[in-house]
Every structure is written in C-alpha cells, then in structure tokens.
Amino acid sequence: MKGGNNLLYNLRKYRVAYAYIAPFYILFLVFGIFPMVAGLFLSFFRWDGLGSMHFIGVENYINLLGDALFWKALQNTVFIGIIAHIPILLGGLILAYILNSKLVHGQNLFKTIYFMPMVTSSVAITIIFANLFGYNYGLLNYVLSLFGKGPVNWLGGDGSLIRVAVIVMFAWKWIGWNMVIYLAGMQGISNDIYEAARIDGASHSRIVFSIVMPLLKPIILFTLIQSTIGMFNLFTEPFVLTGGLGGGTNNGGLTLMMYLFSKAPQGGNAYGYASAIAYVITVMIVIISVILNKTMGRDKA
C-alpha cells in the first residue's frame, strides 16, 4: 500500500472483483448456509420428520461406526469408484492424446461420439443398461449364448457382478467428459514439445506418461477431485440396475448415497441418521481432496 492514487485504484479494482464474485456468495448465504447448518444440526437428533425431535448427541455417528451396511456401502463405493476410474481417467487421457495428436483422421467425429453419453437422459439410459444386462432376455447374455456360454445373472446371482454392470455404465458415461477436459488441458501444451520428443525417438506411451501427464497435473488433480465427488454421489446407476435401495443380493450394489437415501427421505424416515451419513461423506470427500492436493502439489496454473 503506497500512495493515495494507488490505493484509490486498488479500491476501484477490488470493487469490481467483489461485484463479480458477489452473486455466488449472496446465493450461498441465502440458499446454501441454512440447509448446510440445519443438516449438521439434524445429525445430532433422532427425527422421523413427522413427530418430535430428540437430541441424542453424537449417537448417530457412533451407531454409524458400528453399522455393517455402512461399511459395506463404503467398500462398494470405493471399489466401484477406483475400478471405474481406471478406464475413465487413463482411457480418457489416452483417447485425448490420440485425438489431440495427428495420428488418425476424423478426430472431431470420434470426439463427438465419445462425448455423446454425457448428453442423455439418465432415466432412459439406465433402463437400457438394465436391459442389456438382463438375465433371461439381455443382449449381453445373448452374445454369450452365441459362444456357447450359459446365461450370467449379472444383476442377481450372489450380487458380486452388480458392481461390474455399475462400473461399465459409470465408465460409459464419464469417459468422454474426462477426455474433453484433458483435451482442454492439452491445448496449453505447445506442439513443439511433442515434435521434439518424437525426434528424440520417444515412444507415444513415454510421451503420455513422462511429458503430458506432468504438464497436465493441475487438470488431472481437478478431474480426480471431481471424480471423488462423483464417486461418493453414485446413486442413479446402481439404484435403477438393482431396482431398489438395498443394492441387490448381498447388498452387492449398495453405494453410500443409496444408503443415505434408504434412511431418508426415500426409503425410511431417519432424518438425523441420514444427515450424519451425509456429513461423514462430506468429511471423507474433504479429506481425500486435501490428500490429493498435498500429494499432487498445489494447483498454481
């Protein structure tokens, strides 16, 4: 802070900046804080939404720790999240690299097709996937029968294959989105870098892992955090595929978000418990984000 002129200039500048970011914070103050605080408040109560509320301290959180289904849901969610993100992240990156380089013709067509799953209605598409994975009439089992294999009960059986179906569907939807984000990131990398690497005789896989990935670190970090949030919010796909909030046989497709919903407001009416689950999910997302941030370095593009 130096002379008066400078200060005046800064103030004017600040005013503009504050004005530009104000809409978010105003809306957050009006619409965001109250549900957030009230949700936290509720998590210390037992309330069925219909009768009186009872303060029970941290009992909801303690019960949650001993809740086998909660752990099962967490395990499923993390399993599905991690496996599904191998094709989503790695596949997205490789596709982006191929389509960004001049290796093939018709890049725009491929990009458009790969992105199409984002542009769809989730109700319709889950019904179609349930159909593809159907036991008696499913397309997948038909294809298997052509190879002389018996029908596989994807969505039933002992429940272990439900996760496969969920992963396929989840990856199908998100791979194109990540590809587009990586493409957006790759525009910042000068073509000269690739050229130089090629002249030095570097293979494509080497370029992807040694040059592109480090340069895209902030973008990859962003997609990782987004994917983490997406993973914990996984609901529609397993819900429609298993046809209920229990997640099918042996709770094979039960995710955390489904478990939350099964407590309130869709299955039961344990609002306090559901709020506690929501806050545990929030804390997990925050922790993972912080760890990601720490290990991958701070985002200073």
């Binding site: 978010f24 914070y25 965001g32 029968s145």
Partner: protein
C-alpha cells in the same frame, strides 16, 4: 508395420465408438417395438413396426410438448444465468487480486463437496417459505451461480486470458465492465460451450428437486413426465423409450450442431501471448 499399427488404432477407436453408440441405437430401436418385443429372446436389434402404437400410447399418457417447453424454459434460463454469473466470478478469481481471495476461494471449493441431499428437508422448508413450491424459481435461482461453474471458468481464464490484452484495453480507457464484455467474453467462448453443455444437460435431467417442487402436471419437466410413465401397474416400455428419444433427440441435435464449434474451440490451441 506402421499401417498395421494404424489399423489396430482405428479398430480400437471404432470399437469404443460402437460401445458409446450402442445404447443410443437400442433406445431408438426400442421406441419402435412393443414391450413384449423388447423383452424377447433373442433380443430384437432392428427397428420394428410399433412406432405409431407407441406414439398413440405416449400421447395418451403425457403432454410431451408441454413438458418439453417447460424443460426448455427452465434449462435455458438456468444455463444463461450460470454462464453469466460463473464467467464473471471465475474471471474475477483468475485475474484480480483482492483481500480474502484465498479464503473465499477455499470456501467455494468446500461447498462443492457437500452432498446436496444432506440439506434437502431444510432446503424444501426454505423453498416453501419463499413461496417457491410449484415455481421454477426454486430450480433456477439457488444454483445459478454455482461453485463448479466458477471453478471451471477460473481454470479456463487462468490458461487463456492474456493480462497484456487487459492492460492494453485499460490503456485505451475501457472500463473493467467493458473489458470483460468486449475483450474477455469472446475469448471464453469454448469454456462457455463446455460449461454450458454440462449445465444444460444437468438441468435437463434434474429430477430430485423437481419432484419435490413441481407438483402440478402442467408444470412437469421432461424427467417428471418420463417418470410419470413408469408405473407399478406395468410400464409401456416402447412408449417410454419413444418419449425418452423425443427428450434426448433435441439435446443431441443441439450438441451435434454445436460440437464442431465446441470441439474446435477445445483444440484450437491456447491464445498465444
């Protein structure tokens, strides 16, 4: 050798493209089949002759044009507001320095991490207090300056907004406001396209809040109308798929028309300083 490698590459790309397109193809096919044909073995993979019957059933069950207009109204107004508020917000976080910037931004990121379902009851209480039950405002207003959008625009601005250009405009005597609209906004077009498509799709498919807020049939958006076709008593899947096709097709057409521009924008390369 090189040609063989190329062929393999094309083959892989084509297989992935096939997987991506198959569900869409199945949706179109199913919209021309009767429910019994949809559930038959071996599965019917080609267009059938039940389109007009499905259409008849669909028209009887829901008012699709009405739902379509409702969805279009909600989605377009929402997307427009999001693009406006988020681009100025992201731009401000990217190019200006101001006291409290780091803290404010951290708060913004934090809000992204809270699952919306956590506060659904308090949220609904608020909406009723505002008198927004059965009003589209409940869907459009609260999220129209959202954290994700601001983050997305900030990211893009950081990579693509040349400070030199702003300085030049300032020297020319442009106000900050004019700089944004005349100089910056055109640069942000690709980010507008990508964020716009994403937010458009999200709102086009929004179900949970709409289900709580929009109780009257004439207010139904497309997802609610589609949902109304699903019944414990037996769902006419052919008609449902036809309605889904009608709901998705315009989205796809808009996307396909805009995609050249959208994809071009993404790959045109950074604005060189």
């Amino acid at each position: 050798m090189k040609i063989a490698k190329k062929c393999v590459l094309y083959l892989i790309l084509l297989i992935i493209a096939f997987i991506m397109l198959l569900p869409f193809y199945m949706m179109f096919v199913m919209s021309t089949l009767s429910t019994n044909a949809i559930y038959s073995f071996p599965p019917v993979m080609f267009f059938g002759g039940n389109l007009s019957a499905n259409y008849g059933n669909m028209v009887q069950m829901i008012n699709l044009p009405r739902a379509f207009l409702n969805s279009a109204f909600v989605t377009i107004s929402y997307t427009f507001l999001v693009l406006f508020f988020c681009s100025i917000g992201g731009y401000a976080f990217s190019v200006y320095d101001f006291p409290g910037k780091q803290k404010l931004f951290a708060l913004l990121l934090f809000t992204m991490m809270i699952p919306a379902t956590a506060g659904i009851i308090p949220w609904f209480i608020m909406m009723s207090k505002f008198g927004w039950v059965n009003s589209y405002a409940a869907l459009v207003i609260p999220g129209c300056a959202n954290a994700f959008g601001i983050f997305w625009m900030r990211q893009y601005c950081q990579n693509n907004v040349p400070i030199s250009l702003m300085e030049a405009a300032r020297i020319d005597g442009c106000s900050e406001w004019l700089i944004f609209f005349r100089v910056i906004a055109p640069i942000l077009k690709p980010a507008y396209a990508s964020l716009g498509i994403m937010q458009f799709v999200n709102m086009w498919n929004e179900f949970m809040q709409a289900n709580l807020i929009l109780r009257k049939e004439r207010l139904y958006t497309l997802p609610l109308a589609l949902r109304a076709m699903v019944s414990d008593r037996g769902t006419d899947y052919g008609a449902l798929m036809l309605a889904s096709t009608c709901a998705v097709l315009p989205l796809l057409i808009v996307f396909l028309c805009a995609s050249k521009y959208f994809m071009d924008g993404l790959t045109a390369g950074a604005v060189k300083e």
